[in-house]
Amino acid sequence: MSDLKNILSNSNIIDEQLFQKYLAGTASAEERFFVENQMAEDDIVNEAIEGLQNFKDPQLAQTYVAQLNSQLQKQIGKRKKRQFNKLIKEQSWTIIAIIVVLTISAIAYFTIQLLHHSPR
């Protein structure tokens, strides 16, 4: 009975490590069934696994994934920097105004203090 449920069940988890083990041929029977079940129910996973099986060396796919993730982080970092620069550029007058107000306030405060404490 419980095995029949597998036919109707859907799993949307993408477990890279499990895929790697499957591709390397080191997955246990249970893990292999999990991956092949995903392949049976999801054409995208099926295509991906078929594509990955075309790699002459499964280790190379892993190396590429690490490189791509590192490049992705760099891209994201650049984008964040650009967003920050854009924000600074857009808000430059606001920032200048705040600095000017703060400077005037500080000068006024110290002038008052100076006048207050100076001998008459």
Binding site: L8, I14, I44, V65, L72, Q75
Partner: protein, 174 residues
């Protein structure tokens, strides 16, 4: 993760999200391009497109969306080489992972499923039974039945799809 991005606009979330699909996209690009370096470059391009498009797009199913970008990118590359591959703008591939219109725990559903199995054509029935009930691997089914690997995959996929349709039909008739 997408919700988090929408809330604080921190592109770090997009990075974390996309990383989950790197291997999947590499596999898909490799499947189309049949070249390891080209597949890697294609994934990089897909990421670039996704980083730009994601903030402006209301994406409901990220995996299918990324798949469409990857496939179209690969097909464009192939078209540039061969000049005759047709490109579709929408993914006609079915992502079944969001489709579960019935309660699989209901005993009634399981009973209907048991009967529906017998309505499949013999190769589909054999492959579905060997895979789901006897937990045989694709390779073991190939060895046991004499079908090719492609046939086994197809019988299981189509068998499963047909079973779902049959179960839905029978549940609606009740």
């Amino acid at each position: 993760m997408l919700e988090k991005y929408k809330l604080d606009q921190d592109s770090q979330w997009i990075g974390i999200l996309l990383q989950r699909y790197t291997l999947l996209l590499l596999g898909v690009c490799m499947k189309y391009l049949k070249n390891e370096e080209a597949a890697k470059d294609a994934v990089q391009q897909v990421f670039l497109k996704a980083i730009i498009a994601l903030p402006k797009t209301n994406v409901e199913f990220l995996k299918s969306w990324l798949y469409s970008i990857a496939r179209n990118h690969c097909l464009m590359q192939l078209r540039d080489k061969t000049k005759w591959v047709t490109i579709s703008t929408e993914a006609d591939i079915q992502d079944n992972s969001f489709f579960e219109p019935f309660d699989t725990n209901k005993e009634q559903t399981i009973l209907i499923l048991e009967k529906a199995l017998l309505d499949l054509n013999p190769p589909q029935e054999t492959c579905v039974k060997l895979f789901y009930l006897e937990k045989k691997s694709y390779q073991e089914i190939v060895a046991a039945t004499g079908f090719s690997l492609l046939q086994v995959k197809s019988y299981i996929q189509n068998g499963k799809r047909n079973l779902k349709t049959l179960v839905i039909q029978k549940l609606q008739q009740l």
